[in-house]
Symmetry: C2
């Protein structure tokens, strides 16, 4: 019960920290972006002398500012922490799925990610901060709960009882969820994101704790934003500015059955666009791999600078081609309020000098010079359909689409969500404008009370934003909830769902993998998608695991000589070993359980420690020689259950307390990476002579064996085994024969698509030939 309270406290701490971090991230980005905008603005204001000169000056200024920001951003990533590159969402997804990569969750990645993300997003590149925010949440969840950092070599355990790999995993999950919650202001969406990505069994109590963490994170973010708002307006604690990010209208428009038809259309468009987005991105990654990476770190660092400078120069220069238009002052809400646009951009148009006369604005500049989020807000606006014409939206879509696809995968910390929202809203709004023009003619608009009010480009922009995200990320339920929470549009949940479903369906049929899965496949990370093999799962029901398992397993006997264990750890890089024992009745050795590499290392170290002290005390007593008896069996007073069960971990720690010189690795394993992420411990280094005496001592491993490790028979079907891996979040599974002797082992790598398809092919050949 007590440990349960500790978990709730920790969830609250993680939530609040992530809320604070998110607030800092967004504030820094806003400040920097505002400074950048002010500089460009002041350059443009020099048009009094010469329009052309002002534009050239502002383009130059933009290029310089952006280059500096991007250079700082990419150099941090390239030279300090390459793991901080890109959004980090694929890494987080892989972790929730059961794969662990190195250095992804350490403190250096945290700092670099934060800095690089602030600089990159503020620079005006077509990137967003949401993806990095999710990754930052995961890092905070890991760091705070474990209270230690191996990178900077410090440890401040707040709650020592939570320092084990199972709890760490739970808190990272909570961190991911809270990261999403902060990134989009959607506590429920955050929880569902974590749930959709997590592979294994989801305990309801854990879900509730994670929900609490999301709530704390959202609350903290709202509080800080409220405090900022209160500086100007008073009313600290009022969540006026915060909460729903993209709520553009308070007027609820009644939904209509016919809205599903354009939703399907937008879904198809966005599905197709998302596939091409991924393809351009992949193609760019290929170019990068072939031409940029081989030229060294400098080239990798400079690439985003060059591309970024080109992109922002285009963004500042393009608006020249558009005329100035008067700002629409439409009172379509029927409420007497004058809901005009606040972010329409003057560019080089003349401000109206006198009161009452309409200001003018530049269409393209209003799209291109704002931050991504403001652009989305303008696209979602429902009150003035003609504020953006076809020409400006199509040109902007083209440039932004290519720019965002190329920016994905550069050596900066940046996310895809804002670009996806921008592109999706553009596609949706263009489609909506076409539909409106067909039905109402140019300049037409349905009144908000009309049953046709839903034929509104702003509504379709929201549907498009969801659909494009659905096509790129292949998220499902979480995405619908995120869109709903972001826009507060419960009314339109049916068309939004329809569009997302259509886009995902089309994208699934055109491209097997989502953009995240593709990133993981490229890096050969054993991600079990649960979707990927769905089509051949029925066929795999008849294939037995003997076709995919690896025979000749390295097993460990229950009583093993120290020299043997040391050899084993040095010779192999496996992450764990099945343990066998000789049955009393005789016959071949049978399967008993599983022992991880980490546990074996801890056991070996404590054995050495114990033997050393024993040995030296014997020497001190003058009996010399030490332990020679080859058959002596060493028993350490700690069991596997004690190692793993959290409530005794204090005792376990004290029992396993080791010699100061030997740094203690994480004692309770499972963590230690997918396979072979640890080197064999080099005992030789520290006076092997001292230990030669012990080489023949046998250790009784039985207490350390995980006897609750499932083993299956070789007659099991592959399909069912896949379910076991996903349901239980396994990394490896021992295969036993009829008499319970170990005959093979299956790891996640053996369940990758190519391996499974090979097994299926072999199975078919055996049947038909």
């Amino acid at each position: 019960m007590k440990s349960n309270w500790v978990r709730w406290y920790m969830m609250a701490i993680i939530g609040f920290s992530i809320g604070l971090l998110g607030y800092l991230l967004y504030t820094f980005i806003d400040t920097l972006a505002h400074m950048r905008y002010t500089a460009i603005r002041s350059a443009l204001d020099l048009r009094a002398r010469s329009s052309a000169g002002a534009i050239v000056l502002s383009v130059l200024l933009t290029v310089i500012i952006t280059s500096c920001l991007v250079l700082a951003s990419s150099s941090a990533v390239v030279y300090v922490a390459p793991e901080a590159a890109a959004s980090g969402v694929p890494e987080v997804m892989a972790y929730l799925n059961g794969c662990l990569m190195r250095r992804v969750f350490n403190i250096r990645t945290l700092f670099v990610k934060f800095t690089s993300c602030v600089l990159a997003v503020a620079s005006g590149l077509p990137v967003g901060p949401e993806g990095p925010m999710i990754h930052l949440g995961a890092i905070l969840g890991a760091g705070i709960s474990q209270g230690e950092s191996t990178t900077i070599g410090c440890a401040f355990p707040i709650f020592p009882s939570l320092r084990n790999s199972k709890d760490k995993r739970d808190f990272i999950t909570a961190g991911v969820a809270a990261g999403v919650a902060v990134a989009f202001g959607t506590p429920i969406g955050g929880l569902l994101f974590a749930f959709e990505e997590i592979a294994s069994f989801w305990q309801r109590s854990l879900g509730w704790q994670i929900f609490f963490s999301c709530m704390c994170a959202t609350f903290a973010l709202n509080m800080f934003q409220s405090a900022e708002y209160a500086v100007d307006n008073g009313h600290f604690g009022l969540f006026a500015k915060s909460g729903v990010i993209f709520q553009v209208s308070e007027t609820g428009i009644a939904n209509h059955a016919l809205a599903l038809l354009p939703a399907v259309l937008i879904g198809l468009e966005c599905g197709l666009a998302s596939v091409w987005f991924c393809r351009i991105s992949q193609w760019m990654a290929g170019i990068r791999k072939r031409y940029v990476s081989p030229r060294g770190k400098l080239a990798v660092m400079l690439e985003p600078v060059v591309l970024g400078a080109a992109f922002v120069a285009l963004m500042v220069f393009l608006p020249v081609m558009w005329e100035c238009k008067p700002v629409p002052h439409l009172d379509v809400s029927g409420k007497g309020r004058n809901e005009t646009f606040t972010n329409l951009e003057l560019y080089i148009c003349d401000p109206s000098g006198d009161e009452g006369a309409a200001d003018t604005y530049n269409e393209m500049a209003s799209l291109a010079l704002n931050t991504g989020e403001d652009t989305v807000k303008q696209l979602l606006n429902r009150n003035a359909n003609q504020v953006f014409g076809y020409f400006s939206m199509v040109v902007f879509l083209g440039v932004y689409f290519v720019g965002a696809a190329c920016a994905n995968g550069m050596a900066i910390s940046s996310g895809l969500f804002v670009p996806m929202l921008v592109i999706g809203s553009l596609i949706g709004r263009i489609t909506g404008l076409v539909i409106l023009d067909v039905f109402m003619g140019r300049e037409g608009q349905f009144a908000p009370d009309s049953p046709w009010a839903w034929v509104n480009p702003g509504v379709f922009a929201l549907i498009g934003a969801g659909a494009f995200m659905g096509g790129v990320t292949r998220l499902t339920i979480a995405l619908v909830v995120i869109i709903m929470e972001m826009s507060s549009e419960v009314h339109f949940v049916l068309p939004i769902m329809t569009a997302i479903m259509t886009a995902k369906w089309l994208a699934d049929n055109l491209e097997h993998h989502s953009i995240y899965e593709k990133a993981l496949v490229n890096r050969k990370i054993p991600f079990l998608s649960g979707e990927g093999m769905a089509h051949s799962m029925k066929l795999l029901e008849t294939v037995t695991v003997s076709r995919v398992m690896r025979p000749n397993v390295q097993v460990v006997r229950v009583q093993e000589r120290i020299s043997g264990l040391r050899q084993l750890l040095k010779r192999t890089s496996h992450n764990g070993f099945p343990v066998v024992s000789q049955p009393e009745a005789g016959g071949p050795a049978v399967y008993v359980g599983f022992i991880t590499r980490d546990h074996l290392q801890v056991v070996l170290r404590s054995a050495f420690y114990k033997l050393s002290s024993f040995d030296s005390s014997l020497k001190a007593m003058g009996e010399g020689g030490g332990l020679q008896a080859p058959k002596l069996v060493l028993d350490l007073e700690i069991t596997f259950e004690e190692l793993s069960a959290r409530y005794v971990s204090e005792r376990a720690r004290s029992l396993l307390k080791m010699h100061d010189e030997i740094a203690m690795s994480e004692p309770v394993g499972g963590g230690g990476g997918y396979e072979g992420s640890y080197e064999g411990v080099s005992f030789e280094g520290r006076g092997s002579g001292d230990h030669q005496n012990f080489e023949n001592v046998m250790i009784n491993l039985r207490p350390f064996v995980n006897t609750s490790a499932v083993a299956i028979q070789s007659s099991f079907s592959v399909a069912r085994m896949y379910v076991l891996f996903r349901s239980l979040g396994l990394r490896h599974l021992t295969i036993v024969g009829e008499g319970n002797h170990v005959v093979g082992i299956v790891t996640r790598k053996d369940l990758m698509e190519d391996r499974l398809e090979e097994a299926l092919r072999a199975h078919r050949q055996d049947i038909f030939v």
Copy 2:
């Protein structure tokens, strides 16, 4: 790929059917309730002659109408289908958890449930239609997907490839989700409800299909409602009336950090109230069991009639004690609209004859004479705080609380959700009124633009509704989403979450089980809550399964004599048997796999069929005698994989096609009930003489054995085994010893709390004594 399309079609069909059924259910209820109301209204309108007379007349009329309706409702349940009683939500939860009960999903239950629910809800009892709607959804999911009914003995398989127990389970899950979606108008909430209750591995593709089903159901419901609306107003297809049920105000009130404090307070109140609600309900169930049930079906049938009549009489009579009040005409929205209450009840007050003068209304009658949903809407209203005073709300709360608690568990088909919403809103609104009075004084109200606008009894009523539901049902995420979707209040998600969390926390600490789990525990249904044992799970890590398993398992050898199998099926009622075989190397028999009772029966029947035809053809050839060789091993040409893998099920069916006289039970098992839901097939009945020859024939069972059934060693920990049961949705698990011989079996019943606690106690004694 093809079978996948079939699944999507089926999901759509199920969704639309449930939408239609929901529309019919609500329309019938509305019509009947309106007729009942009109009758009472007309009796009250006779007050011109005498007020007292009018009240007595209306009370009498109410009692008569209600008694007739409730009598019809309860007689259908008692005499036709007792399974249709109550809400059916516990049964559905148990099914999703992995337990199956008989006759819960058949067509008779469907009709009785529908009829009984319409009558009961329309009668004016404190019950709602949501629970039955969920159950109806599950029945439709089962019935439509399987296309057959054993009850009425017909079969119209639409898609034969979906007729197997795994798909049936998926479609029932979809039915549940769509039922929730229709009941509350919340497609996302429906999906999450199913997800929260489902125990085992949740495939993302299945989740997406279920989401589609929810969407279709909501769409169908909206379309029918839109069609009804179009009859009066035109605009068929406009979802104006439908969608968000409880959206009482279009004005978004900004949330405030301080709102969390009253949310915690309301959470505590509602948590406490919910515990007492369950206790009263349990206490009433005890009385019912002791005094009503023993007196036979008639007493069971009449009990709801008597209680119902008393309740409605009180509801009609109570308003006499309240004065008439003028209807508030507040324009607090600041929008120039006059948002008054439409459902305020005149009772015996005078309507204002002339235009402009204020109408009067009766506070208590406005609460008591409306339907439950209208009462909730009035309580959630934000525009006139003083429309209900303390006295009316407290009295109504008291009467309704006791009434609803007693009504739960009566022999009528009725749900708890509307009562929970009413009670929760009352508690919230009363608390809100207190807070408002403390801060603003009597008659005060904060303007909607004020930063204190959230201090509004209508807002607190919504928070209370969620909190009380949280305390009673212990739902978590699904509930938050349902409340959010129902009310369209994305702004207030933080206080709603806080209140639900607080209420659930308090209720969990005071009462171990939710009201649904209690119903299941009372009926000894082996429901694995995943929450219940959470506190002792850590302790169970050190207990091995040998403490809970049942030794002396009935096993089946791979080659078994027909007589032995028949004896086994007759003697035991187990739902399946571990299969063992003699290893070639000698020694005791080893575990091979598992065979279910259903499969064994099918195998036996087809063996008989094959042998009969063989035998008679031999006889026809004049060779006499038939098969005498005792060692003859019969091989049937079908394997377990073929039985189970859907894509060959047609072939399996044709292979297993049996003698016309032998009705074919469901061939692919797993379904057949938790344990022993089938009787042993009585072969004796139909000319056992003919078959005596075959008694000694041996059948080779190997092809029918499920070799993908997990078996674990007896050294496994109980905690880990519990996870296996829940993750994989198991019903039984074979326990093997070191040499892979079967030593025991564990079923769900062995994992019930009392058994686990016993094991824990025994384990402790062994350690400390």
